[in-house]
């Protein structure tokens, strides 16, 4: 009892602390804060308008329109599905099942920004710290930036759909439902920002990165147990299965989507007090996420430095010269660029997290839609679908790097131009690094598929490798061109900031559609003849063409890099 009281007291103190911080320097939205917020909004507007003066800016705007339209279509689809399903559930007297829609919305909101970092657009707000911004203004600016994220926009549309569905089925509940869903939306916004802020913190330094890595590996290993558990439950008697389902259901009820669903359902059943308690708990989750986010933003606001600087040694040590990496068969310059790229990646927490996503997604899917179902034919077994999918995803997560491969070099691009090395060698070194990552990721994916789903057929494994041999050079070719034609400076250490221009996003989308189209076509032909080795042959033929294109693009790099010199230097060297 005493412990609980102490706990409550500490939570109350923490909330009071947040409120106190947010109150500074004035409680009202006085002129200084509103003037600053207006100035920031005007600044972003001017940046947008000035950007339209150049041809690149106009192209970027047109691409943004197209990408936004795609998102709008996705959001509209989500809106329609959410409203229809909500309407059905409520009109059939099952509003407590609204959690079935709210969970996917939450998962999309939280996972999409990590899975598609190229599309995440949170500008670096720390640059504003040089101005006399109050903490409250800074916090509000961070939140406002988060509102423009595609995940937030699409998630909000989903919630709007739920609100519409519930309101049409039960018109009198529209205010209550709006309040509950708005609370749920705010919780999602805070949670996403909080997760990003803490991930950035944990992944910023070697020590915390190692701890995080270890926890992640342990989590992965423990998730391996889910397979046997699910298998056991599948075989288990009905009461046992039902019991497990009930436990899962009870757990989700006290989590935000369950609470939001319960708050709406209880109100519809005229149990307002119970509904209020669920809403209060949901709000408490929001406050908790907000408090954890506040801790990070407060630290940033106070001028936190996440540098990995080791303490200065009292007596200068005699350092043994570190000899660089060797890459047999390649020049010193190619090997040096390869080594530099690998070191950059190893020091970028956000990139490392992105790179392990394929294996993580295999585990997630193992728990849900991809239960292993064994049939006789190739590609009808789960492992035979999971491995090509994971390998394709392993290539996809590299889009950020491949399509903007000078982005992280920033001012270092000057070094490349000043050095006596042909650009084709620099680009080759970078591409080799990416290829190495694809290979490692694919091997890891194969091992994960082997243990989570069972070994894929040999023909599927070989066809997938041949498919990669076709897809990777094609992606690298397009990526190398776009890296010169549409570069964007990026910060490897920052999470959730836009990593590519809209033009690049659009073009890479197009390229992925082409590659997936070829892949589906090849597998369809193989299935038609019921022989997967046909896919291997077809992919190898396509790979030969794709490699020829890659070589041709690589040869043109020196000329194109010279032509694009000023654009690249201007974009990447800007402060």
């Amino acid at each position: 009892m005493g412990l609980a009281r102490n706990g409550l007291r500490r939570i109350a103190a923490a909330i009071a602390d947040v409120v106190q911080q947010l109150k500074l320097p004035k409680m009202n939205f006085g002129r200084p804060v509103s003037t600053q917020l207006k100035a920031i909004a005007e600044l972003r507007w001017r940046m947008f308008v000035n950007g339209l003066r150049s041809r690149r800016g106009k192209t970027e705007f047109a691409s943004r329109m197209v990408v936004s339209s795609v998102f709008a279509l996705g959001g509209a689809g989500g809106f329609l599905v959410a409203s229809f399903v909500s309407y059905l559930l409520v009109s059939q007297g099952k509003p407590e099942y609204l959690a079935l829609i709210l969970w996917p919305i939450l998962l999309f909101w939280q996972f999409f920004p990590v899975m598609a970092t190229a599309l995440t657009n949170n500008p670096d707000s720390t640059e504003l710290l040089r101005f006399p911004l109050s903490y409250r203004s800074y916090f509000l600016v961070r939140m406002a930036f988060g509102l423009f994220d595609p995940a937030c926009a699409i998630g909000s549309l989903g919630l709007l759909g739920v609100w519409l569905g519930v309101t049409v089925a039960q018109p009198l509940s529209f205010v209550w439902t709006a309040v509950v869903l708005a609370t749920f939306g705010v919780f999602n916004l805070l949670l996403m920002q909080m997760v990003f802020a803490w991930l950035e913190r944990w992944l910023a330094q070697r020590r915390t990165r190692e701890i995080f890595g270890l926890v992640f590996i342990l989590l992965m290993l423990s998730l391996q147990l889910i397979g046997p558990i699910v298998a056991h439950l599948n075989k288990a008697s009905r009461p046992e299965f039902r019991r497990a389902f009930e436990i899962g259901s009870q757990v989700q009820e006290v989590l935000p989507p369950g609470l939001a669903s319960d708050a709406i359902a209880q109100a519809l059943h005229a149990r307002i007090v119970v509904g209020l308690s669920s809403l209060a708990l949901l709000a408490a989750f929001g406050l908790a996420a907000g408090y954890l986010l506040h801790l990070r933003i407060r630290a940033q606001f106070a001028g936190e430095s996440l540098s990995e600087t080791a303490g200065r040694t009292a007596v200068p040590q005699i350092q043994t010269p570190q000899v660089g990496w060797d890459l047999p068969g390649f020049s010193q310059a190619v090997a040096a660029v390869f080594e530099k790229e690998m070191r950059y990646l190893a020091r970028s927490g956000p990139m490392l997290l992105t790179l392990i996503m394929p294996v993580f997604m295999l585990v997630v899917f193992r728990m849900g839609p991809l239960n292993p179902i064994h049939h006789s034919g190739g590609l009808s077994r789960t492992p035979d679908m999971a491995f090509p999918g994971a390998a394709a995803y392993a290539l996809l997560v590299l889009t950020n790097l491949v399509y903007n491969n000078f982005g992280a070099d920033s001012g270092g691009i000057q070094f490349f131009y000043a050095s006596p090395v042909q650009f084709r060698q620099i680009v080759l070194g970078k591409n080799l690094a990416y290829a190495a990552i694809v290979v490692v990721n694919t091997v890891l994916a194969w091992i994960a598929v082997r243990y989570l789903y069972g070994a894929p057929h040999l023909a599927v494994t070989v066809a997938t490798m041949a498919g990669l041999l076709f897809a990777a050079p094609l992606n690298f070719s397009a990526g190398n061109l776009l890296s010169l034609y549409s570069p964007k400076k990026r910060d490897f250490s920052a999470f959730g900031r836009q990593n590519a221009t809209q033009t690049t996003v659009l073009a890479s989308f197009g390229m992925q559609i082409v590659i997936v189209g070829f892949g589906v076509g090849v597998f369809a032909v193989a299935r038609y003849y019921n022989d997967l080795w046909i896919a291997v042959v077809l992919f190898l033929i396509l790979a030969a063409i794709s490699i020829s294109i890659y070589v041709a693009v690589l040869r043109s790099m020196d000329r194109l890099a010279l032509e694009r010199r000023e654009t690249l230097l201007t974009e990447l060297c800007r402060a």
Binding site: Q317, Q319, P321, Q322, A336, P420
Partner: protein, 269 residues
């Protein structure tokens, strides 16, 4: 017989739209010269040095470094020059040792030599005591020293430095000056821009002044003094005797600069 210049430009021009940032510049820098390139803000110094180092394409004109045309032999030229550009050209997420080793290999050194020289340079620049520190966490002065180290790791014959002493403390500046002087005595040619005229006066044997994109003076300090004296005499007398003219005075007279009329900013404390 005239010695072939190390750096030679003919009618070098760079336009940005209507504006001629550099307009028909003819530069000649002889081997072994410590050459200072001066000019007011926006005069075209950085644009010129960018063109000389291959970071910017000229609109017209010709650049020859060590007798080689930069446009037709860019790689051969770059192999023999070292550059510290305006933005320093560093890779922030490498350590100092990793960056120098990388730079050495990009300039054609083998792995062992690059590593050895990187280690020596870090010691020399007094950057060796924080081996795990990333370049992005270096102070501005430390980054300048590192950029300088990367520019010389391959032993260049010509060194281009854009504001090399900006943000560098007095001790480090002394170290750098000593290193540059030693390079000159060993036959290297150094081309630098700086706003600190005292440094240029102390280090450089020859100077060129660019103003509004045009080269308005070029020669040794003595030649410039004599030129200013001659111009002063032609204009009706010279207040100061030529021996006493400092580079700052020469500079102000050549670019026609004068202090702006004193203005009051009533709101400023």
């Amino acid at each position: 017989m005239e010695i072939a210049p190390t750096i030679c430009t003919q009618a070098l021009t760079r336009r940005f739209g209507e504006l001629a940032a550099v307009d028909g510049v003819d530069l000649r820098v002889a081997p072994g010269q410590f050459f200072g390139f001066l000019g007011p803000n926006g005069a075209g110094k950085s644009t010129t040095i960018k063109m000389l180092t291959g970071l910017l394409a000229p609109s017209s004109g010709r650049i020859e470094i060590l007798g080689l045309d930069l446009q037709t032999h860019p790689v051969e030229v770059k192999r023999q020059i070292g550059v510290v550009p305006e933005g320093m050209a560093l890779f922030g997420r490498l350590t100092g040792a990793e960056f120098l080793s990388f730079a050495g290999r990009m300039y054609g050194l083998d792995r062992q030599t690059a590593a050895n020289r990187a280690s020596e340079l870090l010691e020399f620049m007094q950057l060796a005591d924080q081996p795990r520190k990333l370049v992005t966490d270096y102070s501005h002065g430390m980054q300048k020293k590192l950029a300088m180290a990367a520019a010389v790791i391959h032993g260049p014959k010509v060194l281009f430095l854009d504001e090399p002493f900006e943000g560098v403390d007095a001790i480090a500046a002394g170290t750098l000056k000593a290193m540059l002087q030693r390079m000159i005595t060993r036959g290297a040619t150094i081309f630098l821009t700086s706003h600190v005229l005292e440094i240029v006066e102390r280090l450089c044997s020859h100077v060129a002044i660019i103003h509004q994109g045009r080269l308005v003076a070029q020669g040794s300090l003595e030649e410039l003094r004599a030129g200013v004296q001659a111009a002063g005499a032609a204009g009706g007398g010279l207040a100061t005797s030529p021996e006493k003219l400092t580079l700052e005075e020469i500079f102000l007279r050549v670019v026609g600069g004068s202090r702006p009329a004193e203005q009051e900013l009533s709101w400023l404390a």
